[in-house]
């Protein structure tokens, strides 16, 4: 998704060429395929991985120039309603066998099941459309994530203006992942996640992002609440039954940004984030938040490239410093690091093979007798994806955990108490 100014200009030329394409009814967002009468293959090398054109489409505010052709002809120039509800669905269902147990960190009470039908694993309802010459919206809600029936979770949900005050600066306001500035998790091929992003707490947050290309560089700078998407405060101080809520729980905002460029065939970027997070109270295995706001810093380096559109590679390194994070030792700064690297090989239109290596080292958080000892990972995931259709695939994945089990020490059951090998088989579809 990293585009230089020149690349973006080239894309404008390119989509101008596609302007004349007729319109009917493409993506892990198949709605775009329908709207622009394009094959899924136009934007995806292998769903959901984007190809070059797909990345350029996203960078162009998720639209082609003829987007208005898909709107209701009301005769009102100030109204551009999509001609039909712009919806798409993504569904996943798996069967899994795995090492790993549910262990209560405080009591050590253990439950386990070595096999599981995770069907459905996830059902997503996605929607996106251009609403004006510069504004696009996008959101998706997950129904039954990881099989949790009765729950709906909104993850991405944002408005994006492609050209604020004619400055060439784009602004995205809403809920999104800070890590999307590097490698969007939703477009990865493996089932296994980019774990360092989750551990560093730079996935979903609410905020605003400004970005612009200048010469060969792309700049992104944003502010976010810095506490995820679940914490909130009820506004009750004015009196009884005031309905509003605050989503941040302190006055500090997280500042984050990325500078990217291309050097030959390699795209690289430098990411940084700095903000506050609640400390962790003493005891109870680190499960409880403390009362102090502590500083948190993340620095990342990302590299990626491809060979002829058949082999894609990517690598991410994250360095973290959580100042005074644990109330047990508030004067100490806790440093840890992690990252991942992967390769996707697409030999033909039916098959995709992926390798994903995840690594994390708890660093100063090791031996703290808290759940944060669990920032410890050394695993390799091997994935084979078989495409029945452009938008329907079967997945087989094996995750091999290279870490040794650690015995329980200290007061609590924390650390790498079990292996996390797994084997998984299932289906993934978008329509």
């Amino acid at each position: 998704m990293h585009l230089t100014h020149h690349a973006r200009m080239r894309f404008i030329v390119q989509i101008a060429v596609l302007w004349a394409a007729s319109l009917q009814t493409a993506w892990a967002m198949p709605e775009f395929a329908r709207r622009y009468s394009l094959s899924c293959a136009a934007c995806h090398s292998a769903f959901p991985r984007l190809n070059k054109f797909g990345e350029q489409f996203v960078a162009n505010n998720m639209r082609l120039p003829n987007w208005k052709d898909g709107t209701v002809k009301t005769g009102d120039d100030l109204l551009a309603l999509p001609a039909y509800p712009p919806l798409a669905v993504r569904a996943q269902a798996y069967v899994q066998a795995r090492d790993g147990k549910s262990i209560d960190p405080v009591t050590g009470a253990t439950d386990s099941a070595t096999t599981d039908f995770q069907s459905p694993y996830l059902i997503k309802l996605l929607s996106s459309a251009p609403l004006s010459d510069n504004i696009t919206y996008y959101f998706y809600a997950i129904l039954a994530e990881k099989g949790a029936n009765g729950e709906a979770l909104v993850e991405d949900a944002w408005f994006r203006h492609g050209d604020i005050f004619g400055s060439g600066i784009s602004m995205q306001l809403g809920q999104f992942q800070l890590s999307d500035l590097m490698f969007p998790r939703e477009t990865r091929l493996p089932f296994q996640d980019f774990m360092a992003y989750r551990m560093a707490g730079i996935t979903y947050d609410r905020g605003v992002l400004f970005d612009r290309d200048i010469g060969p560089f792309e700049f992104g700078l944003g502010l976010s609440n810095g506490n995820g998407i679940t914490d909130n405060l009820n506004i009750n101080s004015p009196g009884y039954r005031r309905p509003d809520k605050m989503f941040d729980n302190d006055n500090s905002k997280t500042v984050f940004g990325r500078i990217g460029t291309e050097i030959g065939p390699v795209s690289l970027g430098l990411f940084g984030a700095s903000g506050k997070q609640r400390s962790i109270a003493l005891g109870n295995a680190g499960l409880d938040s403390g009362t102090r706001n502590t500083n948190k810093h993340v620095v990342g380096l990302d590299l990626s490239g491809d060979f002829g559109g058949k082999t894609y590679w990517y690598a991410q390194y994250l360095w973290n410093r959580w100042d005074g994070f644990l109330d047990a030792n508030p004067g100490r700064d806790y440093r840890w690091q992690g990252g991942f690297a992967g390769v996707d090989y697409l030999p033909d239109e039916r098959w995709a093979f992926s390798l994903l290596y995840n690594y994390a080292d708890a660093g100063d958080l090791a031996n703290t007798d808290t759940i944060y000892e669990g920032i410890d990972m050394n695993s390799l995931s091997l994935t084979a994806s078989y495409y029945f259709m452009r938008n329907v695939k079967a997945i087989a994945e094996v995750n091999v955990d290279f870490l040794k089990k650690t015995p329980q020490t200290g007061t609590y059951w924390t650390g790498h108490l079990t292996k996390e090998n797994y084997v998984l088989f299932g289906f993934d579809a978008a329509f």
Partner: protein, 182 residues
């Protein structure tokens, strides 16, 4: 779970997956989406973003139209089919889902080139689109602008009648033509 159990499950899953994939793969080549390209007259050279693909009638894979990677300087050819034939106007067509489902049957305009006594261009000249061809047919010396506009509209109507462009395309191009000042 003991390591041996994990291994067994792994093996069984891999085998199941392999069998499923191989069974489906037997029909894979038949079901992968392809684009059939025909022209009138036949024998036109087909150019895709990746270069020369052959001569009509020709069937190409969808990925040849939408390659995952391409040189930036060829970006304008993404998703297009270019036909060129000696004595005919070079024609560039944007591929839609309908085209892939139904196949492309394009009629080359050979009369214009013949009348002008000029051979078809041999250079890529891929910027010429159907809409552009209608908008800017070759100028005839001494022809008034109004006459030329009329001729452009006639060409557009012919393209529609021949089924080479869809009605919405025709309307859009017509609107653009009429909105363009003389």
């Amino acid at each position: 779970m003991r390591r041996s159990e994990t291994g067994r499950r792994l093996t069984v899953s891999a085998l199941l997956f392999g069998v499923l994939a191989v069974q489906h793969g037997a029909a894979a080549d038949l079901t992968l989406r392809k684009l059939r390209i025909e022209s009138e007259p036949p024998g036109a050279e087909v150019l895709l973003i990746g270069g020369k693909a052959g001569h009509t009638p020709l069937t190409v894979g969808e990925r040849a139209i939408y390659p995952n990677d391409y040189p930036d300087k060829l970006a304008h050819l993404y998703g297009t089919v270019t036909l060129r034939r000696a004595g005919c106007e070079t024609l560039v067509h944007r591929v839609t889902l309908d085209d892939i489902e139904r196949g492309l049957k394009l009629k080359l305009d050979c009369a214009v080139a013949d009348a002008r006594g000029t051979p078809a261009p041999q250079a890529p000249a891929a910027e010429t689109t159907i809409s552009q061809a209608a908008r800017t047919p070759p100028a005839i010396p001494g022809e008034a602008l109004s006459q030329r506009r009329l001729r452009q509209l006639q060409v557009l109507q012919e393209l529609l009648d021949e089924g080479l462009i869809s009605a919405p395309d025709e309307q859009r191009i017509r609107r653009r033509l009429l909105d363009t000042p003389f």
